[in-house]
Structures are given as structure tokens and as C-alpha cells.
Symmetry: D2
Subunit: 310 residues, 4 copies
């Protein structure tokens, strides 16, 4: 029996498409789960080797269900991330013309992305929410609705055809997915990595959060995500999910995490993994004084001073 | 015709209860709307004087629908906030015993708050999601479900009785609501106020956000909420919704906002209004050097120096 | 009787030369005083309109006598500064050859600047300290010593001739002088100005001084001098003399000074005046968000928000 | 031949008295030198094991001669410090009455400390500067002057008697001396230590110095001295002599020094040694998160994360 990856189902969604871009997915059994929580629970119980779930998108920001699962419960770790551009196709039963469309369905998350297109092209069509875009396609296949917004890849699976593709109100609409497993030694640094942590403040005072962010800033580390999540201790009590540039084996990152560990109430490490968003112009150059070589040279110098050899 | 307040409906929800705690609500017509967006649109179009919507709760954190509406579109302003402790009653048709309950319904947001209680008391009951807790109560009245979780106040409206009250898994479960209107002169400071803004960073670099937060920190201003929201410009692009202590007419706050205005790409003022969360032990004392008197004295001194009178 | 400028005498020193570079000196009576203290006292008593004294040089750093006089006592204000490159001439009685020189004299402060030259050219000559370089020249005139290090300009006054000029061990040896008067409205900003203050910390704690310097840093203001001086309250108790870029009528400087005033135990303003050190490549461009226009625009925006017009 | 300590002479000065408070001085030959420079050179050449020189006093601040010698040339290290309260005795030849005193002598540095006393008690006496207080006492012995201000201990040596003791205009007048040797392993930490370094900035920009001081501040380390000294590269070019709380073997100090080493152009370590100024109320408690135990625990945690054991 091959190892399996759980993923947020159903089949035929953007999540599955994103998962299949990972080479390691080709050698695993891919099993859809009904919720992020159940997919991650499958990892925690050992039922699945890892789970693949959305964590951030350009419309909603951080996916709170996923973040809250990572923040609490038995520790999990992010192994990989995948970025997927999200564009929709308008799927219909073969033969349907655009003027025939009276009802259209999709997951509510799709709505902000297709609203303008609908207004311009099918202004009178009625919107009906579905549990997922794949489900909407299935309901079109079964004749309940006239059209569905879904990934173009879903057409074949449900015997539909795409009247229109590349529908997306916002440019650069993307969703970020993560492959999450049990704690393990992070993959080796690639030179373009990202580190995720959750931090809880010791107490709340003017400058408190600024000083925590200072642990990254003073070591030249850029932050890529800062998402507050309630701690459950009452309104106004938040922890912060942070994605920062670099790998925990980079000395600047290790020292920053160590600094956070000292001054925070609690820090949860969520993994170091290759960045999926490296642009054509490459990775930001390091700030002066923050390379591993400079950290090592400085530590050596301190040791020499401690030994009286200077 | 009296001025009206729009609120997130339907009638008989916690939102309506919270709204009715405001003295000014007694003299307005209170009109339920089907969504946060439609309630706020009613304000923007002039249909309503103000809208009353949830903005933060202790389980979900910032309510993204509300924040996103405030961040974009025609400017709105927060006039007031209300904090409501959320506890549920188990509502049934008169005569129903706890052992009779096979199905139970509520809005999905209620589920995390009653899950443990259900496991302990009605472990075999089936959960059915409803569009609102009030809707669940109505469906119980109509006989579709056996019980609903809702505010105790909903019992009378739907002819139900409360088998149990004060159900809440998490201590301190609260929701914060805001009364939102068109831009106007903020209410006079009370000595325990809060100021809300949205900031957009000019560019993204190590220490960028830390320096923005420094505008508050160096003036001794505590932050009470920091919620990132996507800007729509693609994944990883965020603006930040911030609640900070103090009133825009406080000099420390005015100078901090002015500083943000200078160094941010954009700042949106969302209002200064009385804090609903002032504890029995009162408001945090000001940091040395941050009172209005000290700001005035310092500005006077600079003027004297500029005039050569020192 | 013309107004007079006091200066650190005697006549014929670099101080007098520097003073005469000021156009306003041409219309004043220039009176040498025996000490910095007596020259500044002449200003305080009204005996002189202003005093011209050295305040910093590239070998000694801040001239502590001058700084201590400005830090304490009745307030004074810096009106102008002058930078003078310091090079020495070797002055002898006419006819003296370099091989005749057995004794050489100058003020002790000259010694670090001529030591290497002496070693290379008159290694066997005996050094004799004088009260001033001008005094050394006079003693050579009177036959007491064979040669003096002094400004070339002193040769004519004392009937000596310069065997060698442009003597200076260190490149870029310069002395900075200031014209100090009673408090008055500072000269109008020129676009390349400097502001001097003295600050006393409220208490001593980790980060205390860093936060004070932050008042300049967060407003993009570069510091050009930071010189600690004892407060007299016992060892380890210091105030700080600071020169910063900009003019007190610049909004970024006014706000920084105001911030210092609020959080320091005490701040003494020492003046805003044109910089003498502006290099060929001109003045450092302002940091984004720190121009007067941006300060004004931001203050306007805050006022609009306070008025509900946004 | 015993090992020798060089000290700033002549014999019979406060320096010698301070040196003799060190237990180790009892077993060394103590040799006076004519200048700080010559005493430190004796260490550099190996002629002396260590040198004892003044480094800071409550009237002058940092002693620039000493600091400049430590900043440049072959590296030296501070082994110990001594604090001495400075009060003067008025020494006269036996039989001299206060009304007989026409002339009084001492080193110029004594003048600010006795000026008020002279004005009140011997207003008509003429001040004559001497090369040292001990020298002044010798000249009184020889009959050249009527009285000398010196340490009371000098009376016996020069056959004089003290007409008055405990003369000091300023309360808390103290001088700090250091025992300086060649680089060696610093003495073990005592729990109340001090670390001295010199730092050179990489370049000069707004916030540059603030960020350097931040290396101490963010690790909860208090600074006790910050003295700028010219680098010799021209006016306005300074390095900074810093005394900070803690020992280089304390992890917070080691990490701060390592941070400075990375971001400064140059750092010179001047030693870690027991503080002489620990008050009766003891050492400041550590900031939360800055103890060795917390540093070690945090580093352990990072290692566990790097290994996937969390």
C-alpha cells in the first residue's frame, strides 16, 4: 500500500490540481477529505503521511480554518508550498448556449472573482451557491443548474464543456496551498526558503508587537505574512502567524527564532520550506551583516575575545 | 419618518440584542439586512443613517466581511462599539425533553461554542446548519428540527422554551459590534477611546511593518487589533486594520496618524469612538511624555526656541 | 563704538583667521580673550555681542571646555560655524636654516599634527610647549626658541619667515569654530543647516539612549555629532551634545525636538545655523515622508479626519 | 624580580592610592610613568605586566588620552577598574596658618573642585598650576608656594600637614581608574561585570547609531558609558567607546557583540571585568528573556526544531 496524501476534496477542484503539481504526489495515493480539519486530523492520527490544504489566497488572505488548525492541537509542520493562479471556466452541458443560462453555481469563494464577468455577460443569471466548484459542476451535469464556474480541468470529469475560460475579475488571483506533515527535519535550504512560526505575546503593552517584529527586522529578515488569530482567551487576545524569508538553518533565522523564543510567551515552529513565489528577478539580496559567513565570522571573533586571542 | 439604523439580520439575533443596548437605537427604526454588505451599502446610499454589524469575535477574530467593506469603497466611519458576551440557550418547543432531541440546528459559527456541551449532553443529536440562529429557532417552531442553539431572548419570539441557558464552551466568548456611518466629526473624547485606521505599506522591506508600528509605539500608544487584509494586488499583498488606544483629538494619536500618513502609501481613518472594553481597573495610564499637556508644553518650547525666547 | 566679537586669543592664531572669514567680522571690533570661558562670559554679561571659539577638531573631537560652557550657565546660542583646515608653517627668524634648529615650540595641541614631520626633518630638535602658537612665534621673535609651528599668517606679524608650509601629519585636519551669542531668533533656513541641542535622560535603562536617538531617526534626521559630557551628578551621569541635520523651522526637526522635550529630563536648544561642511555633492536628499510639504499634508489630513471631512 | 605595574605618576597621587586598593598591587613593583601613553607603551613592549591609568572622572567625563590610546595601536585589555572618591586636603608646611597663605598650587584638574572653597576661605590666595598635585606638594615643601591641594595621603610623604581635609566642591566627585594589560582570557564573571568595546560605524545615515545601540537594547543590556572619539579621518568622523553591563561570557553580551561585529565596520573588544560601582541595592535585575538559562533554552529549542523534534 502506498503512502497517502490527504487533501481538501472533493476531487476535481483547484486543490487537487495544485497537489498534482508536486512530483512526490505522483507516487502517493491522493485521498480527498471533506474538510481541512479532517485532512489534518488524518495526518495527526497517522492515517495519512501528509495533507494538502489551502492556506492563503489573494482575495481572502490567510485561510483561517487552516491557520487555526496549525496553531492549536498536536504540532504539525509545513513541508512544501504551491502557488496556483486561479481562473475560472464557465462549464455547461454540451449544446448549451450562453443565452440559455438562467442559473449558475459555484462555491461562494468564487463569487468575488466572477462577479464583474457575470454582470457583463450573464446579468440576469441567478447565482446558487454550492459546497464546492466540483459539486457545482456535478449539479450542472445532473441538470439542476445551467452552468457552473469551476476550473477548466473539471469539464472532462463531468462531461461538460467550457463556454468561456480564463475568467477572473482580479488580476493575479492566486491561492497558496501547503503540504503539511508531522514534525520532521525540515528539507535542506535551497537559497530561497520561507519559515513559518506562530508567536504569542507575553503581555500587551505599547511597542510589544513592534519589538517582536524587531527580532526579524534587526537581522535583515523580511516578513511575507502576518496574520493575527484569536487565542481563545477572549476578545482582543491574538497570536500571530508569521511567514518570514529564510530557512531555520540560516543563522540569521535561527537567531531571530531564538530571540522570539526568549521574549515570547510561546513560539510554535511551523516549518522551513522552499518558496514557491520566487520571481524571475530572484531572491532579495541579504542585508549587509546577515549572511551565514558573517554570522560565523562574528561568532568566531567573540570566541577569540572570550579566549583572550585578539 | 424616524432615521433608521440598518443591522445584520434577521431579527432575533445577537446583533439585534447588541444594537438595542445603544440608547440611540431606541429612537431609530431598526431595519434588518441580509448581509453586512447590504447593511453598509444602505449607509453609503443614504438609505440608512448608520449600520450595525459585527466586526470581531473571540473565536473568529476580525470579521473579514466587515473589515473588507470598511477598507474599500466609499469611506465610512465607526461611531460606536458594543461588546456582547455570547452564550447560548437550547431552545425547544414546549414539552420537549432533552432525551427527545434527535436534531439540533444553529448558525455554523455557533458550533465551536457548543460542541463540548453537545458531546456531554446530547451526544447522539444530529447537527444541521441554519442561515442564522434565529432561523434555526424558526425551523424548530415549524417542527423541522427538535432544538436550536440561539440567544435566550429568541425563545419568546418563536414560542419556544429554553431547556438550558448559559451554554458556552469557551470562557469569555464575546462579539464586538460597530455602529458605522458616513464620515462625520468624531464624538468628543471620553478619556477611554479607541481609534481605527487602515494602513497600506509603501514597499515591502525588512523592518517596514515594524517601523510603521513604531509610529504608535514611540508615542506610547497601545494597539488592540492588528488584522491583515489582502489588498487585491495579488497574494502576499496586505493592508493592516489597526485599532489603537486613544482618540484622534489626543495629540499623541494625531501625531502618530500624521506620521503614518507621511510614510505609508495610504492611510484610511475609520473613526475614534468610546471603548466598550474598559475594565473595572480603568484605562492604562499614559506613558511619561505622551499626555496632551506634555505635547502642548513641548510644542510651546519649540516655538519659543524658534523665536529666540529661551 | 562698533559692536564687538570676543574670540579665543591671542591674536594671530587659527581662531582669529577663522573668525575673519565671516563677513560680519569685518564690521565688528574683534577682541581676544584669554580663555573660552572668559570669551563666553563676555557675551553673557553683554560686554560682547558674540564670541568666536573652537568647538570641535578632527584630532580632539568635541572641545570639552566649549561644550561644558554651552551646556551650563545662562543659555547661549550658536549663530554660525566655520570650518578651517589646519596646516602649520615652520616659522623662524630670517636667516635661520633648518639645520640651525635646536628648539621648536607650539601649543601642545599642534604636536600630534607635526610629530611625524619633525621626526623626518628635525629629529633632534627639542619640543617646548607654549601657551599658544602665536605665543610660540613671539618667543621665536624674542630669540628664546629657534622655530615655531604656527599658521603661515603669523609670520608677518612677528617678523618671521616660513621655512616650510602645509605641514600636517593627518589629512583632513580641520577645526570647527562657532560664533556664539545670546538667544535670538535663529537665522532663516538655507536648505543646508544644522541644529544643536543638549539632552539629559530622564533615567537610565536599557534602550534609553536608543529611544532618544530614535526621535531623530524616525524622522529621517542624520546626526553629525554625539558627544557625552558629565552632568556633575557623579561618575556615569552624562548629558549628550548633539548636532543634527536640519533647521528648527523644518517640521521634521521641530517635531523631533518636541519629542525629545517630552521624553527627556531636560533639553537645551543651542541653535540652528548654516552648515559649513556642505560637500560638492550637496546635501543628503530627504528621506521619503520627511519634507515640510509631507508634514503639512499629513497634518492637514489629520485635521480633515478630526473634522469628519474625509 | 617581581612583575611590575606601570602607573601614571608621579608618586603620591590619587592614581597611586587607587592602585594600592587592588590586592594584586601588593605583590608587584609599582613604577610611576610620566604619561598615560608611556605607561601603556610599557605594557605593549612587555616592560610592564599591566598599567594603571585614569579613564573617566565625574568632572571631565572620559579621559580622552586614555581612551585614544586604547582605541588605537596594538590591542590592550582592561582587567580591573577602581573607583576613588576625590577629596582634597590643603597641605602646608608645619606652622603655617590659613591667614599666611598667599600662594596655592595644584594640578589644573583640581581647580574646579576647590574653587568655591578657595573663594570662601582664602579668597586672596594666588593660584599657581603644577604638573601634578604631588608636585605641588613638593614645591610647598621646598618653600616655593605656601599651600598645595592634594590627597591627604601626600602630607606624610612631603613633611607637610593638612590644614583642612575633605575639600570638594561637587558631591560625588569620583575618578575611575583601569588596570590595563595585554589581551588575555577575561576574568571569570562575578555577576556584576562590565564589558568595554569600541565600535566604528560602517557608514553614516539616519538611524545608524540608533541601530548599533539597538544591539544592546534588544538584549536588555544597559550602557554605562558612550564616549565618541574622532577616528582621525576628518572632522565629524567618530568611533564610540562603550561600557555596557554584563560579561562577554554572558550569552546576551556575546550575542550583542556578535551583532555589532556583523554590522559595524570594526569592533574592538576592550575587556570584561568586575564593576566597581555596584551600589548597596545591588545589580539591576535582568530583563525577561535575557538570562543565560533563557538563551540556552531558546537555542535548544531551535536545535530541536532544526532536527524535527518538536
Amino acid at each position: 500500500m502506498p503512502a497517502s496524501y490527504a487533501y481538501l476534496g472533493p476531487e476535481g477542484t483547484f486543490t487537487e490540481v495544485a497537489l498534482r503539481t508536486l512530483p512526490e504526489a505522483a507516487t502517493r495515493e491522493l485521498i480527498p477529505y471533506v474538510s481541512v480539519q479532517s485532512a489534518l486530523d488524518a495526518v495527526r492520527t497517522g492515517e495519512a503521511e501528509a495533507a494538502f490544504v489551502p492556506i492563503e489566497n489573494s482575495v481572502e488572505g490567510g485561510i483561517t480554518t487552516t491557520l487555526d488548525e496549525l496553531v492549536a492541537g498536536a504540532p504539525l509542520m509545513i513541508y512544501r508550498e504551491v502557488l496556483l493562479s486561479i481562473t475560472f471556466a464557465l462549464l455547461v452541458r454540451p449544446g448549451t448556449k450562453i443565452s440559455d443560462i438562467k442559473t449558475v453555481s459555484a462555491h461562494p469563494a468564487a463569487q468575488p472573482q466572477v462577479r464583474n464577468w457575470m454582470k457583463a455577460n450573464i446579468p440576469d443569471a441567478l447565482w446558487e451557491s454550492a459546497a464546492s466548484n466540483a459539486d457545482a459542476a456535478r449539479l450542472v451535469q445532473e441538470g439542476q443548474y445551467d452552468a457552473a464556474f469551476a476550473g477548466e480541468f473539471a469539464a472532462a470529469r463531468y462531461g461538460l464543456e467550457a463556454l468561456e475560460t480564463e475568467i477572473h475579475d482580479a488580476e493575479n488571483a492566486q491561492t497558496r496551498f501547503v503540504l503539511v506533515g508531522r514534525p520532521a527535519r525540515p528539507a535542506a535550504p535551497t537559497g530561497a526558503d520561507k519559515t513559518s512560526v506562530v508567536i504569542w505575546q507575553r503581555d500587551d503593552h505599547p511597542g510589544g508587537l513592534r519589538d517582536l517584529l524587531g527580532e526579524f527586522a534587526t537581522r535583515g529578515i523580511n516578513m511575507m505574512l502576518l496574520q493575527s488569530r484569536p487565542t481563545g482567551a477572549g476578545i482582543g487576545n491574538y497570536c500571530f502567524c508569521i511567514d518570514a524569508e529564510g530557512h531555520i538553518s540560516d543563522r540569521r533565522v535561527a537567531e531571530a527564532l531564538s530571540g522570539l523564543k526568549r521574549i515570547c510567551l510561546q513560539v510554535r515552529f511551523l516549518g522551513s520550506y522552499p518558496r514557491a513565489d520566487v520571481r524571475v528577478d530572484g531572491v532579495r539580496p541579504l542585508f549587509p551583516g546577515t549572511s551565514d559567513e558573517e554570522f560565523l565570522a562574528a561568532a568566531d571573533w567573540v570566541t577569540h575575545c572570550q579566549d583572550g586571542r585578539f
